[in-house]
């Protein structure tokens, strides 16, 4: 089964094509302009260099976030257009799952962190199970990293580019409990999105193209302010 996967959740743009367990191609780069400007071109290039067309693809996978709102919308909208025009099935993969998937061979907790700005991180906790594979222990979360660290009392492997900003804090708080994933697996790879997507296809967890939506976690600023104002007016 050939899966084309896309990730645009962060500043990296990653597109991958797998055929079953075999990687055909993965293009990952630090996008110097907007994702929207390059994404279809990247897909076109990857397929052309693989001597394939969209007709040879069996399914599409997209990294749903959390991450940059605009980046996520670009990935999801592009996949929607591809699916609509090619009638291919789509699966969505949480971006944090794809990050955790980069860190195998451990019985420790796995904690991917993506900078969510405003002093917070997008995160979730995972554990690798020999039989069941990657098990997600929490929801997708957005939180103050200090609060996150207070809840961890066992060996944990951190991954994700959030380490760049919060590595020092993690070291200071958790000391020897914390290990950091090597740099080459700290970023999202569309191949991981593709493999996780493939396992969803195998389980027949296909998503409706129309309702497919990014995982934002955070409401918009306008909604937050509106709720605050509503709460204030309820104060006697």
């Amino acid at each position: 089964m050939r899966i084309l996967a896309i990730d645009t959740a962060t500043h990296l743009q990653s597109v991958a094509l797998i055929d079953g367990e075999e990687l055909i191609a993965e293009y990952t780069f630090n996008c110097p302009v907007t994702h929207a400007k390059l994404l279809v071109g990247t897909i076109e290039l990857l397929l052309r260099n693989s001597n394939l067309t969209i007709d040879h693809i069996d399914g599409l996978a997209v990294s749903l976030g959390p991450g940059s709102f605009t980046g996520l919308r670009i990935g999801v909208s592009t996949v929607k257009g591809l699916a609509l025009a090619s009638a291919k099935s789509v699966v969505g993969v949480p971006t944090l799952d794809a990050l955790a998937f980069n860190v195998p061979f451990t019985r420790n907790l796995i904690c991917p962190i993506i900078d969510a700005k405003k002093g917070e991180v997008y995160t979730a906790l995972y554990r690798m199970d020999e039989i069941k594979g990657l098990i997600k222990m929490t929801e997708n979360l957005v939180m103050d990293p200090r609060v996150l660290l207070e809840t961890i009392h066992e060996p944990v492997i951190f991954t994700g580019e959030g380490i760049k900003i919060y590595g020092m804090l993690i070291n200071k708080t958790l000391g020897k409990l914390a290990t950091f994933a090597p740099v080459q697996v700290r970023t999202v790879h569309a191949a991981s999105v593709a493999y996780l997507g493939l396992s969803k296809f195998k389980q027949c967890i296909i998503q409706d193209v129309a309702s497919l939506a990014p995982i934002y976690i955070r409401p918009s600023e306008a909604e937050i302010k509106w709720r605050e104002r509503e709460l204030l007016t309820k104060v006697p």
Binding site: A36, V40, R73, G81, A85
Partner: protein, 340 residues
């Protein structure tokens, strides 16, 4: 030639199928008014989120209403801007993917040019050259149009768009959202000459507009006459008189500049387009004034004046015919002045 048009520049998710730039086979719009109403204006992040949800259903509806399949589409036209970048990107990304998969041409459309070309979707169409006024919540632009894809910007607003002024005044008077439609309806019961609000005609040689002074004048009037809102029964001038007078000031300036532009360019035809072109007072007055001067006015039907994708598809057809085609590195543009 069958064109799929996609428009997501602000708060309407729209898709349409138009044949040969003339025949509307479908024109679907998913409005977000109910989402933005409580905020008193369009919230960009919420608009973008809603576009992602609505885009596929709206395109599917446009195809099924037109009774055609995606395979019969021969080109994709999409609004590139001006507009909200996050919103525009949703339509642009979907359009690119469709064009790529179907190996059909992609063509980027200037939203304002789309509004002007809505006039070509009516039975009676203008002939080149003509003068066009595009007036909406985000724009007040005056064009000299010599051909398809050949628009010369003669003037534009230097501050608020006309529609923006309507929305702000409606907000000030707690009339609700969207302000333009409400003021239009309310003003029918008011006296347009009740208050003599200032008309900003600017320098003699310019076709630019300015509406912020008028808005300030309305704010000041309400400050000096608080009873008009608080105790309307005790006030000789009603809120309807106030909005009708405000509306008249906007309409006067829009009409006077447009007529002057037509006369300067020596053209006999005027196109009025954009969301505010649905304003009944503007439509009626422009027709009257133009008739007196022997000018012919073309105003698209209201559903073709508000944001729609039929105008985008039509514009796409004419652009493709003239050899314009976009590459996949197309990006959104927020401001009109950033267009090449």
């Amino acid at each position: 030639m069958m064109i799929l048009g996609i428009e997501t520049s602000c708060d309407e998710t729209a898709a349409a199928v138009v044949e040969d730039g003339r025949k509307i086979l479908s024109n679907m719009v998913a409005s977000q008014i109910s989402i933005h109403r409580k905020y008193g204006g369009v919230v960009p992040e919420l608009a973008s989120r809603k576009h992602v949800e609505s885009i596929v259903p709206v395109i599917n509806e446009a195809l099924s209403k037109a009774r055609i399949t995606m395979d019969e589409i021969e080109g994709v036209a999409v609004t590139r801007g001006p507009g909200l970048v996050g919103s525009l990107l949703v339509g642009i990304c979907v359009a690119k993917s469709i064009a790529y998969v179907k190996k059909i041409p992609l063509v980027a459309i200037n939203h304002l040019e789309g509004h002007v070309l809505a006039a070509f979707l009516e039975k009676e169409i203008p002939s080149f050259p003509f003068v066009a006024l595009v007036v909406s919540g985000g724009h007040t632009n005056l064009y000299y149009v010599s051909d398809f894809a050949a628009l010369e910007l003669m003037g534009q607003t230097r501050d608020d768009a006309a529609g923006e002024a309507f929305d702000k005044v409606a907000k000030l008077l707690h009339l609700g959202y969207p302000g333009g439609v409400i003021i239009d309806a309310l003003s029918k019961e008011g006296n347009p000459n009740a208050i003599n609000f200032p008309r900003a005609y600017m320098e003699k040689d310019t076709f630019d507009f300015s509406f912020s002074g008028l808005k300030t004048a309305v704010v000041n009037y309400v400050k000096q006459n608080p009873n008009i809102v608080e105790h309307p029964e005790s006030h000789t001038i009603s809120v309807a008189d106030l909005t009708a007078s405000f509306q008249e000031a906007v309409v006067d300036v829009l009409i006077s500049k447009t007529i002057k532009a037509a006369e300067e360019k020596g053209v006999g035809q005027i196109v009025l387009a954009g969301g505010v072109a649905s304003n009944s007072r503007l439509r009626a007055r422009l027709k009257d004034v133009a008739r007196d001067r022997g000018l012919k006015v073309y105003i698209p039907a209201p559903e073709l004046c508000t944001d729609n994708a039929a105008m985008v598809a039509a514009c796409g057809y004419y652009r493709l015919k003239r050899g314009f085609q976009s590459s996949f590195d197309l990006d959104a543009i927020s401001r009109n002045r950033d267009f090449d």
